[in-house]
Amino acid sequence: MMNVILDYLISLPSDIIFADISFTIMLIATVYLLTKYAKWKWLWSWIISTDHKKIGIMYLFVSFLFFIRAGIEALLIRMQLAFPNNEFWVFQGERFNQLTSTHGTVMIFLVATPLLIGLMNVIVPLQIGARDVAFPFMNSLSLWLFISGGILINASFVAGGSPNAGWTTYAPLALKEFTPGPGNSYYPIGLQVAGLGTIMGGINFIVTIIKMRAPGMRFMRMPLSTWSMFITSILIVYAFSALAVALLLLTFERLFGTVILSASEGNPLIWQHLFWIFGHPEVYIIALPAFGIFSDVISVFSKRKLFGYPSMVFAIILIGFLGFMVWVHHMFTVGLNTNITIFFALTTMLIAVPTGIKIFNWLFTMRGGRIRFDTPMLYALGFIFTFVIGGVTGVMLGTVPADYQYHDSYFVVAHLHYVIIGATIFGVFSGVYYWWPKMFGKKLNETLGKWNFWTFGIGFHLTFFPMHVMGLMGMPRRVFTYPEGDGLGFLNFISTCGAFMMGIGVLFFMINIYITTRYNNKRVLNDPWFSRGRTLEWTIPSPPPAYNFARLPEVKSREPLWDAYEKGNKNIDFIGEYEDIHLPNSTSLPFFIGIGFLIASFGFVFEIWPVALSGMLIVFLMMSIRSFQRKNGIHIPKEKVRVQDRRGED
């Protein structure tokens, strides 16, 4: 028996053996550490928590793990491409396709989206003066569905092979006819589970923002982060449902033999349409919250009111609206009717207008301000510089005749990384540095933060700027090598060096977290940013108590805290008396629903129906239990709230 297992293990490719071994070591290390420091109970208390702050932090943590995994993939891709005719380890041909496909899929669906959702989970209720989100249970469920889907996509390469038809998984390549094996079944099923969680999250935020604002917090007084998350949530609800259909369709094609996407009997373009009807709004789903973060950060670190608040709000709404009308610009070379392509080219370029408004408003906000160059602000400035370049190449790509040249070349790769890293990843770094003290009560180390920014930022431009040139020289994307003598070697080598520099940047970030958590014992007050805070999250202790606001604030302007500072007060006035506070119970059901979905998904991927059915049964059972549960919640008596609040003030 042992021999059989051993023989099987030896027959595996070396990268999978390596991954298996490192995964086992990490698992053992985690179990060992949790046991050694007796942290199992603590871990469980997080798993069952319905506190929006804890859920947000878990979102951030898990998506950061996925970020590291997909980042390592990026480094492997760059290693393979470092020299002409290179053969690095096993990553040629098929394995290279798996690398690029999972790198893209993980980065978009399991890193960019949930990182922002996590950050907003922490911040939005604090910014609108709410004690939690509208549906804490559903919030926890969103998290566990995301983790389930994420595990599925991430586990694919050690269990049957990864998706390998690109992150866009175009039919007919993604159909069973051309890619048999479970690899490409992981994609629609894993993302379906994660996407379901995202839709729930979207609805949750919409209702929270509409219904749970503090007294006086009118829509036009909401901070830009909240505004952008509001519009993003609306985009999520409608875009992810289109994705759900596309994924359902692909699942049916692969598991039940429909021929809708087949090239001979059906119409493969349907996949492209559905995918991009989702895919383009998705770009704004991961960009808008970052815009919101930058608006808050730039205003605070410039010590100035945000310039043109109404136009900023209007621009977000317009971008969200136009975002649904541009999807065909991903499909110009398909050969649709000219009038259609012209329409979509125009809407695409139109988006540059509200985006331009935002850029100028950020610049005008800084003008005449007393700017501090702390890490969040550095990332914001880096973003403006990077995003303008990405925006310009975007307009270039939107020009139909030129797009025939750029399509599927490294020019596109350069463009998409400029906008997605430039906006989303810079935005998340900026937001994490900015709100870290609010989440954990300590400031991240500034020196390491600056090292983090400069290595990551310079590395980024070194990696991706040469790709513009490579693309214009004709290097197609998704190829695992290129011949010598085309002049691509040097550019690719620079790009690889840049990628490693970005990796070092991320290492600085991790070291920063470690050092801050371990050695920084300086607790911060409500507003750690040199009394420049403007919005409600800085009026409460860091980290906030479970109920956030001991007494509800009354909002009389867009920047309540700043107005209080202007009047010489230390904090805003909280209205009313202390009252009994009601908080939701913690619950383990979402965790088990997640496990149910995980089991079911594996059943579907490998087409073992009893497993799939039992997984769905677990899900159904848990949902029924939830339906019958009494939702009493926890009551915190007002006396206790008062005592805790007073202690915080001293």
Partner: protein, 197 residues
């Protein structure tokens, strides 16, 4: 006084939030079904070796399912009327009729599908049939889900009566039921009627 009390349940803040969230969920469902209709219309003419819509559909039997489902929407509305009057037993009765009609609809649909499959019109026969089964199947699954969901709610209604907890749930379930009915009207028009033209 009693009429007021049921309405009060729906006006409670948490109930209002649940109902608002549900409207957004219906918005998402509209996108889902919109896409499925789009897929269906895009491949309707790709019948390959299989039957065309005209050859396949038998309108008489579809009329029966339509009447059954539309009646269920009517009884569902009556149930909500009694819910507003806080009349537990009448609410229970009419919701029960609603889910029985729902079950009848599912039975008719299963019979229709088996008939088609026996005629050789399987899900993998042509792109048209694939899209047809995908659209109708998604709708049928929604009906089934509604039946199970409302049955669970009826158990709660039986045990707990009409209160702060059950009233909003039943109201939301009724919204869901009307929504899948509206979708059926569209399926009847776009798939069956236009398919026969």
């Amino acid at each position: 006084m009693e009429t007021m009390s049921a309405q009060k349940h729906l006006n409670h803040k948490q109930a209002q939030m649940n109902i608002l969230a549900f409207w957004f969920l219906i918005g998402a469902e509209i996108v889902v079904f919109g896409c499925l209709f789009g897929i269906y219309l895009a491949v309707k003419s790709l019948t390959g070796q299989g039957p065309t819509p005209d050859e396949l559909f038998k309108l008489n039997e579809i009329m029966l399912s339509t009447v059954v489902l539309l009646t269920s929407s009517f009884t569902c509305a009556i149930a909500v009327y009694f819910l507003n009057l806080s009349k537990k037993l009448s609410t229970l009765l009419f919701f029960l009729i609603t889910i029985l009609l729902g079950l009848a609809f599912i039975g008719l649909e299963i019979r229709e599908f088996t008939l088609y499959v026996e005629e050789g019109a399987k899900i993998s026969t042509s792109a048209f049939l694939g899209a047809f089964y995908l659209l109708l199947g998604t709708h049928g699954f929604h009906v089934l889900f509604g039946v199970i969901w409302i049955s669970l709610l009826l158990v709660q209604l039986w045990l707990k009566g009409i209160n702060q907890e059950t009233a909003p749930k039943l109201f939301i379930a009724s919204l869901y039921w009307h929504f899948i009915d509206v979708i059926w009207v569209m399926i009847f028009t776009i798939v069956y009627l236009i398919g026969k033209v």
